[in-house]
Amino acid sequence: MTALQGCLLISALLFAIGFAGAVTRRHAILVLIGIELMLNAANLNFIAFWRFGPHPEALTGFMFVLFSMALAGAEAAVGLALVIAIYRHKKTSNLDEVKELKG
């Protein structure tokens, strides 16, 4: 197993953990935490391919990770604001009780 495969396996496992948490937990903040873990797994993939890929001097994977970190910051801010707004409306942050849009 090469180092690149090791990194990819670690990030696959991190993605699976984040996905399992995001779809199984009931609390809205934990779903956001799961999404952050999945984003981090994708970033780890980018860095691994940048490090072990053919043209690391072009810095493309590196820059993609920097920009995706900025986007993750924006996403976390908006997501947590939504959680707070929902809590203020309904006095709950349990996702099973927020189901107005359920068909």
Binding site: A16, I17, G21, N40, G53, F67, A70, A72, I84, R88
Partner: protein, 172 residues
């Protein structure tokens, strides 16, 4: 892969798993911070120093703290009495196990993965800054705009919605 790399990966994955499985939300946020620190250590060992320190600054310093604030603002700091899992949690676990199996199979059997390790690339802060100011200047500006819009949007969403009822009360 050095033994230190494997140890860091184990700590990271264990912290991530406990962040997703603990009952108390504050403990979850702390485990998440540990997991982010482990990922930053992995970046440092992959010769991406700038990204590693940015990870600590952005994720451990900002996002984990923001999550703790949201937990305390929604008064969900104590562990709940009833179940913390959704009704369809077994299907979720099964799907994520299938996702991991597929990804792991693809990683281990892919022919596109190069066999030899290239020498460590140089990504000094000067190189990164040069690239950001020349080749990636348009994405940089756009990301600034996106961050500003997200900040304003987050403030507006989280604002108290009492203005309408207040003005109605004043008019009557």
């Amino acid at each position: 892969m050095s033994i230190f790399f494997i140890l860091t990966a184990i700590v990271t994955l264990f912290a991530a798993a406990s962040a997703m499985s603990l009952r108390n939300l504050v403990h979850c946020a702390l485990a998440l911070a540990v997991s982010f620190t482990g990922i930053a250590a992995l970046y440092l060992q992959l010769d991406a120093q700038f990204v590693g320190f940015a990870e600590i600054l952005v994720y451990v310093g900002a996002i984990a703290i923001l999550i703790v604030f949201a937990i305390l603002l929604t008064r969900s700091g104590e562990a709940p009495e009833n179940s913390v899992l959704t009704s369809g949690w077994m299907a979720g676990i099964a799907i994520s196990a299938m996702v991991f199996t597929l990804l792991g199979w693809a990683v281990l059997n892919s022919s596109a993965i190069p066999k030899e390790n290239p020498p460590a690339p140089v990504a000094t802060v000067k190189n990164v800054g040069d690239a950001l100011m020349t080749k990636f200047v348009l994405p940089l500006e756009i990301i600034g705009l996106v961050l500003t819009a997200a900040m304003i949007g987050a403030v507006i969403i989280a604002l108290k919605e009492s203005s309408k009822s207040e003005t109605a009360g004043r008019e009557s």
